[in-house]
Symmetry: C2
Subunit: 212 residues, 2 copies
Amino acid sequence: MNIACLVFDQITLLDAVGPMEVLSRIPGASVRIVAPENKPLRSNKSGFRLIPDCVLEELTSADIVLVPGGPGVRPLLEDKRLLDWVRGVHRTTEWTTSVCTGSLLLAAAGLLEGLPATTHWNALSDLERYGAKPVKQRVVVDGKIVMGAGVSAGIDMALTLASLVAGEAVARAIQLRIEYDPKPPFDAGSPDRVDEIVLDLARGGLDKVSAV
Amino acid sequence: MNIACLVFDQITLLDAVGPMEVLSRIPGASVRIVAPENKPLRSNKSGFRLIPDCVLEELTSADIVLVPGGPGVRPLLEDKRLLDWVRGVHRTTEWTTSVCTGSLLLAAAGLLEGLPATTHWNALSDLERYGAKPVKQRVVVDGKIVMGAGVSAGIDMALTLASLVAGEAVARAIQLRIEYDPKPPFDAGSPDRVDEIVLDLARGGLDKVSAV
């Protein structure tokens, strides 16, 4: 099973690494990391420097493609070469997947026209611009398109997909392997369950607070 | 706040990226990725190629240091240069942290002598060899040492630490930013809650099953 993961400058790296930690453990999985340019790129905030295995034109088909999100998505929404690649590889896949604002790239490529779709809670309305129907759901399965909501939702998305691809025993074993028994110290993972102060911080205020 | 994240060949990348996605969002955070060698390295399974920002000798102090795990930990347990670096940087930190088998490196460096400690469920007994007291707990705080259990536990560890460093409102805002509202499709994140078949798969059987 060939798995292709798109990366780009200013990616939110957990969008990609969460699901890849799951999908790469499916028996027989083979992974390639693909980027627009064959040069080092930097993840947003977390600051990791990555080198891809190949550029878009060198990877034209995959069994599973993963499109992650992050601030680096914005310039790509108008990038004809990238959107052509998304459309082209999607024609070859068994499963086309996204995490966070990665779904905006699927939508901009025309793959979500009229379909229910999810993304980061703060970007749901952007999906409408491309004709998708945003739903507040952590994982959305639309035929062969599987989408996770914001950032960490990619882990839930990938475990769901692993069970579709390889059965529940394998998916459960992968969940155990990555010890995914989440115990968040707070109940603040949804905008519906926080106060205005926390919401403002999460919407951008964190970048404006002075150093602690 | 200077945050240093150790990386090495055959790292389990989610161990590092989960917490860094949280810690790098603390207001004023500045991130550096440090490795034993100044050359590209490859993450285990997920297959990402990384380039560090600097080598061990170029980073001798940090406010927070993060030591992740993965199969690449094993050769480092006997690596005097790496263990000296862990001890040295630990003397300068406000917080020394680990995820998964990263705690074996803290233990091998002599930092966990007689202390309660956690790691991946499948490596708990290894901690004893270095004089630590393994506890089945997702997050352990021992003075300035903060440890997460296996792989995905790093996210819970880092949110706990973010609240200690920057207060609960900031920690909650970061949790919302990364939409950490986990909904695992299965209840299989702990060895106590799976059957023998799943346990065997997670203990290594996944690598022996033929391709799906």
